[in-house]
Every structure is written in structure tokens, then in C-alpha cells.
């Protein structure tokens, strides 16, 4: 009797969801490059200020008057007040990224809450919340944020809240549609039969199943928040000097465009690369977490 040997080696254990996500993500080269860029940027803006011999508002009084060129002491030159541009860029990065992250977190929490309540309870709750979402979507975003920051002159934390409260609507609609579909599934019914209440059903049972699209939306919201804050600061309505952000650095560079063009390149390039990296990251996460079979 011939012995049949099972080819054990070819049977692979099923991979966990997390491992498959990581594997798919690593195949998305732009996303990996984006993540690498963001990590590098994070290191630079965290460590940079400690290594720089200058402070963001420290002035070299011998260089005051007009912007100074790039030298060995000042790698990216100095501004018209004799401040080191490279140091201000690094500090500006801290502010811009902090606003981006915090704004995105606020938008994601607000959007998830509105979408979850809307999709889970349906009926009147849904009608009221979605009409409110429609209202917010119908007001032009940039003029509205200009209006709010111009009239109220908010402190930086309040500005972050304003930015966050103007970009949650996409997330809300997304979470709502996820909840509408998921609430009909058997596992939700089972949990309900076991006596789980509304909050437990929503956040313990349904929300984890919608985490993929929410993560993608949250990532892309970081890009929107950074862009919105930069535009605001560029127009002079955002974070006010002497605190530097990439937006207000461009604002001051714009008045020296013909004299000191080197001031106008780095802040914009950093905004472009950061937002691009965030968008690639979001794209990669989408491919990794919501694969289209």
C-alpha cells in the first residue's frame, strides 16, 4: 500500500488581516515613499530646533533691513528682520503639522459621530443631521473659514477647531453609509439579541468594521487641514507672526519676490511635498485596507 504524504509545506496558515494590510501597503511604492518622507519630516521638526544655533524669533541685528542670501551660517538665508529662515521653516513645520494633525483628529471625531448617529438611528436623527451636513457642504469652505478667522481673530487652538469643524462632512457621509450597511448584518443582530445598547452596538460592534474607510478619510483630512491653514495664513488670517507657519512664511516672502526669490521656494515646496506625501499615504491605505477583489 502506497503511503500518501500530505504536502504539508504548501499549506500556508491564513494570514491575519493586519499582516495582509501591511503586505499590500508595502507594494504601493508612492505610499511607502510618502510615509518615509513624513517620518523624516517628523524627526527634523522634532530634533531640528535643538540642533539649530538660532531661535525662530532671534534676530541678527547686523542683517536687518532686507532679506539676506544663503550663506554657510544661514543655509536658507535670513528674512528682512535678520531671522534665520531654515530655523523658521522647521518651527513652521511644527505649527503646520500640528494644525494638520489636530484639525484632522477633530474632523474625524466629529464626522464619525455625526455619521454613526445618522446611520445607526436613521429616521429623524438622520434627517436632521444630514440636512445640517448639507448646509455645511453648501457654504463655500475657504470664504467661510476666512470669515470665521477674520471676524473672531481666534487663538491657534481655536483656529485648529475651526479648521476641523469645516472638513468633517465627507467623513460623516462616509461613516453614515458604512453604518447603514453594517447595522443590518447578523453580528449586529446577535449583539442586539444579547442585550447590547445603542452606544455599545455603534462603537464596539459596528465602528471597528468601518475602521478602514475612516482611517483613509482621516489621513486625507490631514492634507486638507494643512492646506486650509496654509491658505489662511498666506492670506494673513491664520496664525500670526512672529510665530512662523509655512503659510505665513510665504506671505512675507511674497512681498520680497523680486528681491529675494529664494525665500518663496522652500515653504511652498514643503507644503507641496507634505500634502503630496499625505495624499499618497491615503491612497496606499485605501488600496491596502479596502482592496477591490
Amino acid at each position: 500500500m502506497a503511503e500518501t504524504v500530505m504536502p504539508l509545506a504548501t499549506i500556508q496558515p491564513p494570514q491575519s488581516y493586519g499582516r495582509r494590510v501591511v503586505k499590500r501597503f508595502l507594494k504601493h511604492r508612492p505610499a511607502v515613499a510618502g510615509l518615509a518622507f513624513l517620518l523624516l519630516l517628523a524627526v527634523i521638526i522634532i530634533v531640528g530646533p535643538f540642533l539649530s544655533p538660532y531661535t525662530f524669533d532671534g534676530q541678527d541685528f547686523t542683517l536687518i533691513g532686507s532679506p539676506g542670501p544663503m550663506t554657510a551660517q544661514h543655509w536658507l538665508g535670513t528674512d528682512e528682520l535678520g531671522r534665520d529662515v531654515a530655523t523658521r521653516l522647521i518651527y513652521g513645520g511644527r505649527v503646520s503639522l500640528a494644525v494638520g494633525l489636530a484639525g484632522a483628529i477633530i474632523a474625524t471625531i466629529a464626522g464619525t459621530l455625526v455619521g454613526a448617529l445618522s446611520g445607526f438611528y436613521r429616521g429623524w436623527t438622520d434627517a436632521i443631521l444630514m440636512r445640517f451636513t448639507d448646509v455645511m457642504l453648501s457654504i463655500p469652505t475657504l470664504p467661510l473659514v476666512l470669515l470665521l478667522s477674520g471676524l473672531f481673530r481666534p487663538s491657534p487652538p481655536l483656529l485648529v477647531a475651526i479648521v476641523g469643524m469645516l472638513i468633517w462632512m465627507g467623513t460623516a457621509r462616509l461613516v453614515r453609509s458604512q453604518f447603514l450597511a453594517l447595522r443590518e448584518r447578523e453580528f449586529v443582530e446577535a449583539a442586539r439579541a444579547l442585550g447590547a445598547g445603542g452606544a455599545r452596538l455603534m462603537f464596539r460592534h459596528i465602528l471597528p468594521n468601518a475602521i478602514g474607510p475612516i482611517t483613509v478619510a482621516a489621513t486625507l483630512a490631514v492634507g486638507s487641514a494643512i492646506m486650509l491653514e496654509s491658505a489662511l495664513s498666506f492670506l494673513g488670517f491664520g496664525i500670526q507672526p512672529p510665530v512662523p507657519t509655512w503659510g505665513n512664511l510665504l506671505n512675507s516672502a511674497s512681498s520680497w519676490l523680486s528681491v529675494a526669490p529664494w525665500l518663496a521656494i522652500p515653504p511652498g515646496l514643503l507644503i507641496l511635498c507634505t500634502v503630496l506625501a499625505v495624499n499618497f499615504l491615503g491612497d496606499g491605505l485605501r488600496d491596502a485596507m479596502e482592496p477591490k477583489e
Binding site: I139, A231, V275
Partner: protein, 317 residues
């Protein structure tokens, strides 16, 4: 599509506009300070004169009363008077609408003419080097800050090369076609870049979905050329997913490209908004914001109607 549906959609915009107006009115009128700030510091303006101005604009009334008064006159087409210039809000808007329509119209025309072919090429050469380069380029186009792009163009074409005027609507004393064209080129290019990038993506994905369908295979099978298949059979259906985005972008651009108009000193609606911000011109700000919101709502309605026109399977009851 029935006339009843169109009317119902238009009617559904009314509560939306009411909600928007309440939110905007509250924001504008609850903010600290006011349009009369510039007089209160001025010793030449007496308290009585100040009260008179406030009364003339209704600023002495409680905010809810001001809102009701504003709403009443808004409905009959009286959008109030600009505090900065004293002229009717609608007159001011109409005066500035021309340059904005010129700039926005040109930018949107450019966007359509460039985005549609790019989307089609990307979709029909899916996975090729060209497609991936266009994908990268569109990501860059969406991620580039418009104000920086504007500065770079000014730096290159005005400061370095001296080919184009850096800002303005026309030269002093000038204003012939070439002069106007040289002023509009850069702002129109800046304005269209982001829309080209996003529209070409939507057209690409719409095109890919459509090209995989059976009726396209049928069209090839009966011997149509690729060009014929793409333009006669696929394009119309591939445009459907892009319609809402295109419509809303239209509305946004027409209601004033604040950043582009500011950087290029373009005397349109966006500049008017920024000037009104400086003067805290409440009636003006209210009018501009309402007009922008109305534009976005109308664009959404038109997009829904365009769906039905493009796709006979969609029926609205």
C-alpha cells in the same frame, strides 16, 4: 424627468438656504467688533453721529430682529447697501461679476479641454508608463498650494523673464485684446491646474468602468475604431461620475477664487470678498456668502438633472 421633480428639487433648496443664512448671519453679527469700529476711535465722529449711522443700517436692533429685517428685504431682491461704498450690494456684485466670469470661464474651459483628453488617454492606456506619470502629475496638481504656484509663475514669467505682467486686470491706458490676454493667462492657468488634476482622475475612473462593459465589446465587435468607441459610445457614460465634481467646481470658481484673485490683484468677486473682510462690510459679506452657497446648491441640482439627461436609465419621480 418631470417638471414636478425639477420644481420639488428647487423647492428643497429653500430650507437649505434658510439654514445657511441663519448660520452665516449669526457668525457675522455675533463676532466681536463691527463695521463701525473704524469710526469709534475717531474723535471727530460724535456719539450722536455714530448712533445715526448705526440706526441707518439697523445695527442698533437686536440680532434676531436684524435677521428678520434682512430676510424680508433679501426675499424681494433688496440685498442691502454696502457699508464701505454705500452702493447696493447687488450693484457691487454685478460690477465685479464680469472679471470673475471672464477668468473663471476661461479657466473652466481650459480645464475641460485638457482634462477630458488626459482622462481618456490615461484610461485607454491603463497601467502604461504614461498612465502612471499622469497619475503622479494629478496627485501633484491636487497637492500643490495654489498661492505658491501663483508666486512661482510670477517669479518666472514676470520677475525673471519679464514676459507677463505680474498682476492686474489690464495695463493703465491699455486694454486691447493682447494686453488683457497677457493679464489673464497666469491666473487662469493657476485656477485650472487643480481642476484639471481632479477632473482627469474622475474621467479616467469613469472611463475604465465603462470600457469594461459588454456594450463596448459589442461596439468593437461590429468593427468600430477605437476612436469611435471612445467618443461615440464610452465618453458620455464615463462623464456621469464626474458631473457633480465639475458642477460644484464651476460654482466655486464662479463665486470667486479668493486666493488667485488676491495674488493676481484680479478685480473680481474674490477680491471684493477680501476688501469687504477688511472693512467688516456685513451686508456685503452676507450677500457674497449667500451667493456662493446658492451657486453650490444650484450646481448640485443641475448635476442631478444632468445625470438623468446623460443616463436614460436614471428616472426621478
Amino acid at each position: 424627468m418631470s417638471l414636478g421633480y425639477v420644481l420639488r428639487r428647487l423647492f428643497s433648496a429653500v430650507p437649505l438656504l434658510l439654514g445657511i443664512s441663519v448660520i452665516l448671519f449669526s457668525i457675522i453679527h455675533l463676532a466681536p467688533g463691527g463695521p463701525l469700529d473704524m469710526y469709534t476711535e475717531n474723535p471727530a465722529v460724535s456719539k450722536e453721529a455714530l448712533d445715526q449711522i448705526a440706526a441707518a443700517y439697523g445695527l442698533d436692533q437686536p440680532v434676531p430682529v436684524q435677521y428678520v429685517l434682512w430676510l424680508k428685504s433679501m426675499v424681494v431682491g433688496d440685498w442691502g447697501y454696502s457699508i464701505r461704498t454705500g452702493r447696493p450690494v447687488l450693484t457691487e456684485i454685478v460690477l465685479r461679476l464680469g472679471p470673475t466670469l471672464e477668468l473663471g470661464g476661461l479657466a473652466l474651459l481650459l480645464s475641460l479641454v485638457i482634462a477630458i483628453p488626459l482622462g481618456i488617454i490615461s484610461a485607454s492606456r491603463r497601467g502604461s508608463k504614461l498612465d502612471s506619470s499622469l497619475t503622479l502629475a494629478s496627485f501633484a496638481g491636487i497637492s500643490i498650494p495654489v498661492f505658491w504656484l501663483a508666486l512661482l509663475l510670477q517669479l518666472l514669467f514676470s520677475v525673471q523673464l519679464g514676459w507677463l505682467p505680474s498682476a492686474g486686470y489690464k495695463s493703465i491706458g491699455g486694454g486691447d485684446f493682447m494686453d488683457r490676454l497677457s493679464h489673464i493667462v497666469m491666473p487662469a492657468a493657476v485656477l485650472s491646474l487643480a481642476t484639471v488634476a481632479s477632473w482627469s482622475r474622475f474621467i479616467r475612473s469613469g472611463m475604465i468602468d465603462v470600457l469594461n462593459q459588454d456594450y463596448i465589446r459589442t461596439a468593437y465587435a461590429k468593427g468600430r475604431s477605437e476612436r469611435g468607441v471612445v467618443f461615440l459610445h464610452a465618453l458620455r457614460n464615463a462623464m456621469i461620475p464626474a458631473v457633480t465634481v465639475i458642477a460644484v467646481d464651476f460654482a466655486t470658481v464662479i463665486s470667486g477664487a479668493v486666493i488667485t484673485e488676491t495674488v493676481f490683484a484680479w478685480p473680481g468677486i474674490g477680491r471684493l470678498f477680501m476688501e469687504s473682510m477688511d472693512g467688516r462690510d456685513y451686508p456685503m459679506l452676507m450677500g457674497l456668502m449667500m451667493m456662493g452657497s446658492l451657486g453650490i446648491i444650484m450646481a448640485n441640482i443641475i448635476a442631478d438633472l444632468a445625470y438623468a439627461a446623460l443616463d436614460p436609465r436614471i428616472r426621478y419621480g
